[in-house]
Symmetry: C2
């Protein structure tokens, strides 16, 4: 499969939705991918089934504070160097690349990398969404070591890390990334083709593109949000899908704490009912509550979109007075297993409640404030 | 040359002196070296002249807060791993090891490493003393890159760093070392034999041993401090040597700041003259002043020893009431050049004065407080 320049725009829009509020600005990723494609050509996108079981696969991503990632993008040489360092460390060059997350900027960093290096890019990732930490991927959940991991900055500083577990790598890499300016490139989870097939969330680059297409199409078809929701219900992962709320931002608290955007956003209903929704986030939205009752919770996706255009609004762009709809969708089944929930379920984020699948949460809360 | 078990004791004593108050407890280094020698045998000590110009040489050292290094020593596997990782990174195994500093614990870590790995150890180091930071070595002063650098901890975490300059490596490694528990093993400054010959401070392992021997011998010969000073005056580097002060510790302020022991120590003269000496340190002693006049300053060595036994007293062991003599000696000539002073002269430590060689500072201060 080849992707066209227009697809990059759609992938960026879809990835902003799948970022669930986080993942960094995909617009920057799109510009980076476009610049690489102008110089090195369009990379080949392949399906997980097409790779050999013993092929060598690396992930490639940027890591840092979303606010900084929007200003200090990868320069290209840092991407080449991260992959070169990891290849030298394990003694084998990659045959293909795969994304670590499809949400946000990191949907398109692998396109940029695959273009620069002339490598095929696998239509898959390790989340089917975005998450803030390195260990929060299916690769880790299902036993693939995160390290050796190579990180680089735009001064071509490189750091190659080997740790006992992925959380230790996250702690060390996060610390180093802050020291290096809060925006680094990282190649990690070296794995073989068989491991990609058994652990990755498949088809997500195509899904991001198609979500982006549905959003654009919906704008000329009537209700953009309804078009988007209708499309999501036809997808393999995001098929449980609800519009949780239609409201106006009346309170937003956001602070940068230890490299993360942490806070919450309150919306009041536009229908005059007095209902209020509270959404808490750590880079990504974690839980949406109405009158204290949970309406959707991580790892299911909670996405805020403009109520007219269905344009996804990331945490960084939330402002008082915005009129938004809150959409929740199911995560991929592989993300909802007991093993996965132990790594990125509600309790992994410090929330004191268990995961309940979106489709099992009653549609209407028990009551409103009226 | 072979070293004998008794030599380890003398090297430890001499290295405590050359630590100039810092460098970590050489007693721990001695225990580590003895344990390695029991298991792997005594390593061969060679002179810098004996190595081929194109031989591959690595440094090996521990890095961290002296307080922690005394409690959390290298386990051995961490040393093997640091050298293995650096060898893999540069694509060549070492033919010999060399110390980075002769002061304190790091005088004997290379003995431990050379014993474990069956490699010759070069009788030399990069300081002829101890210093707190990675860039403060002759190797760096004379153009040898500090990186690739491999660091490891006792959980066998490894971090391989490439930076544009040695100070950047210091900053990154220091940060990571604090995260990993303030005690790590580090193999760095990969260089060839010709570079060792042109930049190292030579013969310092032998010198440390001989200083230790002089201290032990002096205890049965009369005045131990006089015996030590007489011996130092016969050495090639420490030949300018003065007893600056004979006093009692009446004030000691010491805090751990960003991984360093920082503070000062005041001594009052035992001769009833009312004279006071103030010594400032950052791990190592930096400057000794009397009535505000500088009596000795970094990179010359300022060493506090017990006034009866000449036992060196490190910063960590300074206590109110101790009766000490303050000995100052010249640093090796290669450490006193303009290039060297730019890296570890007084201003590199934030002192607002220029280096004056010990032998050019008047023996008697202008006056006393009486």
């Amino acid at each position: 499969m080849k992707i066209a320049p227009d697809d990059l725009r759609d992938i960026a829009t879809g990835a902003a939705f799948l970022g669930a509020g986080g993942g960094g600005d995909p617009y920057i990723g799109r510009l980076l991918a476009m610049a690489a494609i102008d110089e090195f050509g369009m990379p080949e996108i392949i399906q997980a089934d097409e790779i050999d079981d013993d092929a060598q696969v690396f992930t490639i991503a940027m890591l840092g504070a979303p606010t900084v990632l929007g200003e200090k993008a990868a320069c290209g040489d840092d991407i080449d160097l991260a992959i070169e360092r990891l290849a030298q460390r394990i003694g084998r060059a990659p045959d293909a690349l795969v994304g670590i997350e499809i949400g946000g900027m990191n949907s398109l960093i692998p396109v940029m990398a695959a273009s620069r290096l002339g490598l095929p890019l696998i239509d898959a990732d390790g989340m089917g969404r975005a998450f803030p930490e390195i260990q929060m991927v299916t690769f880790n959940v299902y036993g693939i070591p995160c390290t050796p991991l190579a990180m680089t900055d735009d001064h071509l500083t490189s750091v190659i890390v080997d740790t006992a577990d992925a959380k230790s790598a996250e702690d060390l890499v996060r610390l180093a990334s802050v020291h290096l300016g809060c925006a680094v490139v990282m190649s990690s989870y070296p794995m073989n083709g068989a491991q990609v097939k058994s652990t990755a969330v498949r088809g997500t680059l195509t899904l991001a593109r198609d979500i982006g297409r549905a959003i654009v199409r919906g704008r000329s078809e009537g209700d953009a949000v309804d078009t988007l929701v209708s499309f999501l219900r036809t997808t393999p992962y995001y098929n449980h899908c609800k519009i949780l709320f239609d409201g106006k931002v009346h309170d937003i608290r956001r602070e940068t704490r230890q490299g993360f955007s942490v806070g919450h956003c309150h919306l009041s209903a536009l229908d005059g009912s007095g209902r209020v929704m509270e959404i808490s986030f750590q880079n990504e939205h974690l839980v949406a509550r109405e009158d204290g009752r949970t309406r959707a919770i991580v790892p299911d996706l909670i996405c805020l979109v403009d109520r007219e255009t269905a344009e996804p609004v990331p945490v960084e762009a939330l402002k008082y007075g915005q009129r938004l709809k809150v959409i929740a969708t199911s995560a991929a089944p592989i993300m909802r297993t007991a093993e996965s929930l132990a790594v990125f379920g509600p309790r992994a984020f410090g929330l004191e409640e268990d995961f309940v699948p979106l489709e099992e949460i009653p549609e209407q809360p028990g009551g409103t404030k009226e």
